[in-house]
Symmetry: C2
Subunit: 334 residues, 2 copies
């Protein structure tokens, strides 16, 4: 089952039984707008703070994925979840009332790859019948957390990404569906010494390169093994860097590569500069557009690689670099 | 293997192959002082910031556990780690140079229970031969993060705990040793509505009660199944509440209960008020005193329950409650 240095190929591949996606107004106005299960036009989601609003995104996504799958919270053995807020308060307050045993995860924007990876290990190992894996982000909460509160009205440089307001949730299960998690490649921290928190695509691209390259090595395959190779939130800048870095290692993924941060907003009309980012970016794109292509077999096999930038406002203010991490998941139509 | 509502009993129980503990000056002056592998008397560990100092604790603990076990970083399939800083920067910067695939975890001060739990699932499921599970905290970093920077010289109320400066690391392995992880009980978020971040023992005691009670139910056992029932960092106040809450549910654990936060400092001479806390509290106590009792068979079977308070300074300032979570691990001499 262990394959190569960093990968697992599941003998009993867990299925993605169901998914749910919830996104905000701006995301609904983008190219994927019609694909989301729930659209919330109120950025506060009826709450008093951005942090509570993001908690509500998680609560709604978890509730929706249970509803769609006809399962109750008590049918779920574990929830594996994370967000971008300090000490993961969106997760703690959002999932509290579910009363499901919780493994809290932090992988920055790579969290959806981490939660599906660990969730798949749990299900494939025979330790659960159903688990929920989810991740969320909120534009306003993330700006306040990492950069400046929106009220300051700071100007966003062209390299900046726009944090997606949304949450995606999947149920990983032993029960058969049309999409399964064939394997995973778990990422290492990769630091190229970049320090610009307004250019996270560049900070994360080396980590994406490292994980994708390792996936090719561990499974002894070429890019055309996959119909799509989908990174989380590199955006336009990170996309170019990733293509270049992998070419240097002898692999050209330009015909397979897709990036959720590029797909989710309209480049010309939505003024998001480098594209979308945040845990929610990869999560809602997976749980809407991507999963539908896999379910109907339009894509047979993809590599999904959410990418995370490992910074805090304190590490940034103290002059530290912004290392990256990327966790890959192999998804297959079946 | 699945037992009851929230527990696993491992058919192939992973072994704790080796442990390492590093602690600071105050911890070294406490009752467990002679048990730690490394004592660092410089609170900055030669670094420029508290955050870098905590990263160094993680780096040193991971390096030491590899040295003690005669393993190389490349022998370790995964590291599962966490800390208390926003966006887990101690973990990101501390473990970067190991180049081991990383699962970042956030369970507040329950993280050592979460990392051993997930690490055991990975090893028991056949997905790794060796993994490292670790957790750290730093007194000055935590005060700055959750309450006030030390420079403000604020007065600590008598209910406050003293965050342990330290890191504990274990190697979970298929290779035989004298201590094994027999099972786990994974906690849910429990919120009793308390809001005082200066009285975290009270905030976490209901979660400890919930997990311990569930462990008794899932394994159909009584408190005397265990030689010791060891919570992470409830301190004196949380200890009293836990004993009372479990009595209300029909279980008296007063003769088995021990708390790492009570053990680690001297009540009379060290002025820590409620005792020790932080991810590092349970982690260094496990990786020094507790593991030695299990290795020599002085204790045959214990329940180890690190306890976490799920707050951030933002959630506190916004008037939210402080929910708790507790993850239990059954450790056995063999």
């Amino acid at each position: 089952m262990i394959t190569g240095k960093q990968s697992i190929q599941f003998a009993q591949a867990p299925y993605i039984l169901e998914t749910a996606s919830i996104a905000g107004k701006k995301e609904a106005e983008g190219p994927l707008g019609k694909q989301f299960d729930i659209v919330e036009t109120d950025p506060m989601l009826g709450k008093n703070t951005w942090e509570e609003a993001e908690s509500e995104l998680q609560r709604l996504a978890a509730t929706e994925v249970l509803r769609k799958s006809n399962l109750k919270a008590s049918d779920i053995r574990y929830v594996l979840a994370g967000d971008l807020l300090e000490q993961m308060t969106a997760t703690s307050f959002g999932l509290m009332n579910l009363s499901i045993p919780l493994f809290g995860l932090y992988g920055a924007c790579s969290t959806m790859g981490e939660s599906i990876g660990l969730g798949s290990i749990i299900v494939a190992g025979g330790f659960a019948e159903h688990v929920i894996a989810l991740a969320s982000s909120h534009y306003a909460g993330a700006e306040k957390q990492f950069r400046y509160p929106l009220d300051y009205g700071n100007q966003r440089p062209l390299a900046a990404s726009w944090t997606v307001t949304g949450c995606g949730a999947v149920i990983l299960s032993t029960k058969r569906s049309h999409v399964r998690v064939k394997g995973i490649t778990t990422g290492k921290i990769v630091d190229f010494g970049l320090k610009d928190s307004m250019n996270m695509g560049a900070c994360m691209a080396p980590a994406a390169c490292d994980t994708i390259y390792q996936n090719f090595m561990d499974f002894n395959c070429l890019p055309d093994e996959y119909d799509k190779i989908i990174t989380g939130d590199l955006g336009y800048i990170g996309h170019d860097i990733l293509i270049d870095l992998l070419k240097e290692k002898g692999f050209d993924i330009s015909s397979q590569h897709m990036d959720c941060g590029i797909e989710i907003y309209n480049k010309e009309t939505q003024d998001t500069h480098n594209g979308g980012s945040g845990c929610g970016c990869a999560a809602v794109t997976l749980c809407s557009y991507i999963i539908k292509q896999l379910e109907k077999g339009a894509w047979k096999k993809i590599l999904f690689i959410p990418t995370g930038a490992l910074l805090s406002k304190t590490s940034f203010n103290e002059g530290r670099t912004v290392p990256g991490i990327a966790h890959a998941v192999i998804l297959e139509h079946c």
